[in-house]
């Protein structure tokens, strides 16, 4: 169960990761969050983002042209 969910559906990449970067500092270290987006490049973006910022991807789930990525902050 995630601590919170961020739904960026409808936003074009790279806006989802830019938004994520702006809001995640407010989260506690170790918190589990779900990020949802429907941009085709989102999955690639969030993978790079997690790798560069040292966050762990716990799960990737695709449904209805959307991608839900669960990460640990």
């Amino acid at each position: 169960m995630a601590d919170r969910t961020l739904d960026f559906s409808g936003l074009k990449c790279p806006l989802p990761i830019l938004k994520l970067s702006a809001v995640y500092p407010e989260f506690k270290s170790g918190e589990i969050i779900e990020v949802i987006a429907d941009c085709p490049t989102f999955e690639r973006d969030i993978k790079t983002w997690c790798q560069k910022l040292g966050k762990t991807i716990l799960n990737i789930e695709k449904y209805n042209n959307k991608v839900k990525v669960t990460i640990r902050i």
Binding site: C13, P14, I17, L18, S21, A22, P40, T41, K52, L53
Partner: protein, 620 residues
């Protein structure tokens, strides 16, 4: 790559349909698909090529946008961590986008500069802390009480000396107490006003002033306060010097000067009074011898008795003025004297008062007129008895003490040296400071009218001063009083342990004295102790004898005062003949010479022989 599921593979409409599908995907940001089919129609083929080219260009742009976004996210995160103080964060300096790469380098350089700056600040901070520590240690060990006060009067800092002075600890004081807690209430209004004025302009308040400090036990001490403002702050620093002792010494000096004047006055009055009394007594005695009428004789006898009492009174005044001639001064074994005299004391104080005699094992000798000792002891014992109407304890103690230079700093009237301490303590009603101040003044008494003359303690004072001694009085109301009498000693404490054998000698001594009696006396003693004595009755004879016997004469004892050739002249001439000749100058009163031993004629035989032996035993 073309779509394998395309339903309109070869027709124009199918191709256009495919093109529009691909364009939609490109618009969505999906540039993974391409149109692989070819067309014979050059226009269609150009459209296909254009769409594929568009896909490629859009992909490049998307990649760039994403790289830019990731770069921004990454740098943003590093800046955020640095802001939070996490200096392990380092920005990536790798990016195909020049500005992102440069931003990463800039962040890292900024971080380095920032770290250098922090290191510099830390270094300065350490320096400041070191200086602060040095300052604290200096202030702590400066030997004067110091306190630093805030504008609201809270004590920010105080040193160990201040702790000692007030009885409070630093933990209790610093940051918790206001300086007003350490001063007497009656001084506070003025001090608080100074505190405020000083913060307006330091010149408005005195830099130094005397005030009253109150310690934690409520004791009041006179102190000298020196206050200054600490630059760039509203804090002030004050040094507090306890001047109670200084004041006490000043008072002691004033008191002693007062006693000195009183002594002088008493002596003058007593002297004049004595002259008159001599006439009164003389003529009354004559009259008494001449008249025969018994009733008149009785009257005259009463005059004689009254004059005798008056004479006794004037004698006491003379003693106080220290002009009374010394009686028979002799070597007194104080232990034995006190032991014998304690019977009289016991009789004076009665059975309700316990008497304790505290004597040292070592016998103490002192050159004193025994009648003076009697006056001292009887007066103090009588006073002690009167101070203990309900009974109590009277202790008489005796010991030898040595007063060092440090003690004499705080008691300027007491010279450093060896003393005999006679201590008389009672457990009586004691006395307050006011009485203590007047205690030794002539005619001062606390006894009921007619019970005391008020001359007892002033006589004791006079006697002690006559021996160049001192009296200290310690008294507490309802606890008791102790009189400490310090009598200076010139001896080295050897009298009691002198071995008669060690006083003997077989050397030849030339004894020069124009006065026959003492010369013969000394000669006979010296002979008795084994010496060969050559006698000379004047300087010329002495020089003649010395010239004839200079090799055998080990010591010359020369009287200081002689007619024709004085003792010093004889000594000078002897030294011209034999420069290293051992010599002793003898006189009837104490004298001292820089390069010669002197001897008082009135010393005891043992002391004289001891001194002679000391000179003879000395090498060179």
């Amino acid at each position: 790559m073309s779509s394998p599921d395309c339903e309109y593979r070869d027709s124009l409409s199918e191709i256009l349909h495919l093109c529009s599908d691909i364009l939609i995907k490109i618009a969505q940001g999906d540039t993974t698909q391409k149109i692989e089919i070819t067309s014979d129609n050059p226009d269609i083929q150009r459209l296909i090529n254009c769409i594929n080219k568009l896909s490629q260009e859009v992909e490049v742009m998307i990649n760039l946008t994403h790289e830019l976004a990731i770069g921004i996210c990454e740098h943003f995160d590093v800046l955020r961590r640095l802001y939070l103080g996490d200096f392990s964060a380092t920005a990536s300096e790798e990016s195909s986008i020049e500005v992102v790469k440069m931003l990463g380098q800039l962040i890292n350089k900024q971080k380095e500069r920032f770290l250098d700056y922090i290191a510099e600040i830390k270094k300065q901070q350490e320096e400041i802390e070191k200086l602060y520590d040095q300052q604290r240690v200096t202030l702590s060990s400066v030997g004067v009480a110091i306190l630093v006060s805030e504008e609201d009067m809270t004590v920010e800092f105080c040193n160990e000396e201040f702790e000692r002075l007030t009885g409070y600890s630093k933990e209790e004081i610093e940051g918790k107490m206001k300086w007003t807690a350490f001063f007497s209430e009656k001084m506070l209004d003025r001090m608080i006003e100074y505190h405020k004025l000083r913060r307006i302009d330091p010149s408005l308040a005195p830099r130094q002033y005397e005030t009253l400090l109150k310690d934690r036990y409520g004791n009041i001490k006179e102190v000298l306060l020196s206050v200054a403002m600490i630059p760039y702050t509203k804090k002030s620093i004050a040094s507090v010097v306890d001047i109670s002792e200084r004041k006490r010494i000043q008072e002691q000096l004033i008191h002693s000067q007062k006693m000195e004047s009183l002594g002088f006055l008493s002596e003058r009055v007593a002297h004049e009074y004595n002259n008159i009394l001599t006439a009164v007594l003389g003529f009354a005695t004559l009259l008494n011898a001449k008249i025969e009428d018994q009733s008149l004789k009785n009257y005259v006898q009463k005059v004689i008795d009254a004059a005798e009492r008056a004479k006794d009174l004037s004698k006491k005044l003379l003693i106080f003025g220290r002009k009374e001639e010394l009686g028979e001064i002799k070597e007194v074994n104080l232990n034995k004297y006190l032991m014998d005299f304690s019977e009289f004391i016991k009789a004076v104080i009665g059975k309700d008062i316990e008497f304790v005699l505290d004597l040292p094992e070592e016998e103490i000798f002192y050159r004193i007129d025994p009648s003076h000792l009697e006056v001292i002891l009887m007066n103090l014992a009588t006073n002690a008895r009167d101070a203990m109407p309900e009974g109590g304890k009277l202790t008489v103690g005796l010991k030898k003490i040595s007063i060092d230079i440090e003690y004499s700093y705080t008691h300027p009237l007491v010279k450093p040296g060896s003393y005999i301490l006679l201590c008389i303590s009672d457990t009586g009603v004691g006395m307050d400071e006011k009485i203590k101040q007047k205690l030794f003044e002539p005619f001062f008494t606390t006894k009921p009218k007619g019970k005391g003359t008020g001359l007892g303690l002033s006589t004791v004072y006079g006697i002690v001063k006559q021996y160049e001694g001192h009296i200290h009085v310690y008294s507490e109301v309802n606890k008791g009083t102790t009189f400490k009498i310090y009598l200076p000693t010139t001896d080295t404490g050897k009298k009691t342990s002198i071995d008669k054998e060690s006083l003997k000698g077989n050397e030849t001594v030339l004894l020069v004295d124009d006065d026959e009696q003492p010369r013969q006396f000394f000669a006979s003693i010296l002979r008795e102790f084994g010496y060969t004595v050559l006698e000379a009755c004047d300087g010329q004879e002495a020089l003649r004898i010395f010239n004839e016997n200079k090799d055998s004469i080990a010591l010359c004892i020369v009287d200081l005062v002689m007619p024709i050739l004085s003792g010093l002249e004889v000594v000078k001439r002897i030294r011209q003949i034999k420069p290293n000749q051992k010599l002793i100058i003898m006189s009837g009163y104490p004298v001292s010479f820089k390069d010669m031993v002197s001897l008082e004629k009135n010393l005891s035989v043992e002391e004289i022989l001891y001194k002679i032996r000391e000179v003879l035993n000395k090498e060179g």
